[in-house]
Subunit: 350 residues, 2 copies
């Protein structure tokens, strides 16, 4: 699958931009490429030149009077020759711009090319809106289950990554610095087996994992063995069991010292009344509290410590129906790029 | 300082794109904004519509025949009203596109807005070319020393970050899992005091830090106390000393069990013959080996474990004049986004 490549060069001149001189100075570069020029001039806002190439690529040169000059090239071509041609053109524009402005040149920035429309999503913005590209080369697994689209993506840096429902889930999930020895633990969701694998090592009495989607488990058992090791090979072990069910086995009457919610993160939405995710979160935490032993603890992902508003709202929303729950916000270690907050509640005496 | 904001919407239609229908369908949206339309048509490569606004903003709509439709809006405005207007326009385009393609709609992606020309650099691509934006809001320190431009940037997530000579340096640097107790250690560079602080805690005999730039030390002492704590307050302590010098006190005849190079990372350049950085690296490692005790170890940053070519080349380049050095590539923990390789050499028997 071919994709469009978007390359940019940002110049800041040390003085106000002389648009006519820049346009004239760069003209021969685009003529050599066989690109047709079309210029729009504003009275007070500088120039926009658009260059179109017969092969379908095009470029914009936007000259702002203050000295900011932005060059954007878009092309639909993914072979390496195309990349080299693009780089050559960018190099020529950069050199010529430096010649034209000479002593008054400020700086130039060239960001990595942005690829649009490729088969693989490489851009996974953080919850607080920073653009982050991962070195994802291929999807090793891409199937629709009855519940969701399941993708396992390969990154050279991070290995196989489970990406379901658009949430990038890393390889190691934090379960708090707790002593799980001899304890009953409940994991909600957790289909990649990462938490189960970590906790089984800590010699619990029994870990129960409740995951609705058998396909997630099957895919992770096969493609994410560095995360789950062999804990998903059998749905039953000496100190663990995996139930393929729609959450929380409250009916069993079993109680847990720890409940770890690996189902969903704090919603970014600021409209708790309208967003059904909040309703779901309240329900999950409510059910979690029901099966939690007195003085037991409940963990959930906090999405991003930067989103303090969302975290406060979460606390407020969940604090209301759960007067028994004490919220302790705890910022743990970096989770890929975003520092996630792991929120935990302690069930107080009734 | 105002900046240009670049917002994008990427659509993939489920069928081939009917350009005329799309252009006609979106027309009223741009007319409402008072934007003038200009259309370029290719015989085989679809359409490019450019919309210019009187306020200096403009947009491109590129319709590729395969069904990829890219909308790019560039505006020079940083106030919040401008942002809201941009979002409204993007929302309208997104809604209309969905209406127009209905059942055959594939997906839409909206990446975070890219800001060009702002006073603060928020984009710090990784060494292997992934685009990464950090939540950097301000420069708390920005001065030119006789050696370099020194910036200390504030990130909500990471706190104050020292960015000198364009290399983003995090708060914790890895010194290997070594026992430094009672040992003589040499740190080359390391102006932020992070390594010094870490090693002083490990009860060495004496850590000598050699940093050329007093201004880096002064700035970090003031603005990066969560990195250096109080180790830079005095240039001399019970088990540490800071020399403001141009590297390696070979003349002293002192020998070290550990030499930690915090001066520079493995160059990304693939032309060792032309790039003087390689020459510098060879020199540094050569001098390091001279002051290293037998069986001592030398550490340096590997820049990025993904750049296996660069790392091999480094090994090859440095291995030649240093036949006494044994290279052990060791991939350590994630360093902000990029997993850095920490390379270490052990001085073998002569």
């Amino acid at each position: 699958m071919s994709a469009a490549r978007h390359s940019t060069l940002d110049f800041m001149l040390g003085s106000r931009a002389d648009g006519e001189t820049i346009l004239k100075g760069l003209q021969s570069i685009f003529q050599e490429q066989g690109m047709a020029e079309s210029v729009h001039t504003w009275q007070d806002h500088g120039y926009l030149a658009t260059y179109t190439n017969k092969n379908g690529s095009f470029a914009n040169l936007r000259i702002y009077p203050c000295g900011l000059v932005l060059f954007d090239l878009q092309s639909y071509d993914s072979d390496s020759q195309g990349k080299e041609e693009i780089n050559n053109l960018l190099n020529k524009v950069e050199e010529r711009m430096k010649e034209l402005s000479q002593a008054s040149f400020g700086w130039v920035k060239r960001l990595p090319t942005i690829v649009a429309g490729g088969a693989i999503h490489r851009y996974w913005p953080t919850a607080d809106g920073c653009l982050v590209e991962y070195d994802i080369d291929e999807a090793v697994y891409d199937e629709d289950s009855p519940y969701q689209n399941i993708k396992i993506l390969y990154s050279k840096q991070f290995g196989n990554i489970l990406s379901s429902v658009g949430i990038l889930i890393g390889q190691r999930v934090i379960c708090g610095k707790e002593d799980y020895t001899g304890k009953d633990v409940l994991i909600l969701g957790g289909g990649d087996g990462g938490i189960l694998h970590e906790i089984v090592k800590l010699k619990p009495k029994m870990v129960t994992m409740v995951e609705i989607d058998q396909m997630v488990i099957d895919a992770c058992e096969k493609y994410m063995r560095n995360t789950c090791s062999d804990v998903l090979d059998n749905l039953k072990g000496d100190c663990c069991r995996v139930l393929i069910e729609d959450y929380i086995p409250a009916k069993e009457g079993r109680e847990f010292v720890y409940v770890i919610n690996d189902l969903t993160a704090v919603p970014i939405s600021m409209s708790p009344e309208e967003d059904s995710t909040w309703e779901l979160l309240r329900l999950i935490l409510d059910l979690s509290m029901k099966v939690l032993k007195q003085d037991g603890k409940c963990f959930t992902q906090g999405n991003c410590v930067n989103l303090t508003e969302a975290l406060s709202l979460y606390e407020e929303q969940l604090g209301r129906p759960l007067s028994c729950g004490i919220l302790e916000g705890d910022c743990l270690c970096p989770f890929i790029l975003v520092t996630m907050g792991i929120l935990h509640w302690k069930k107080a005496k009734p």
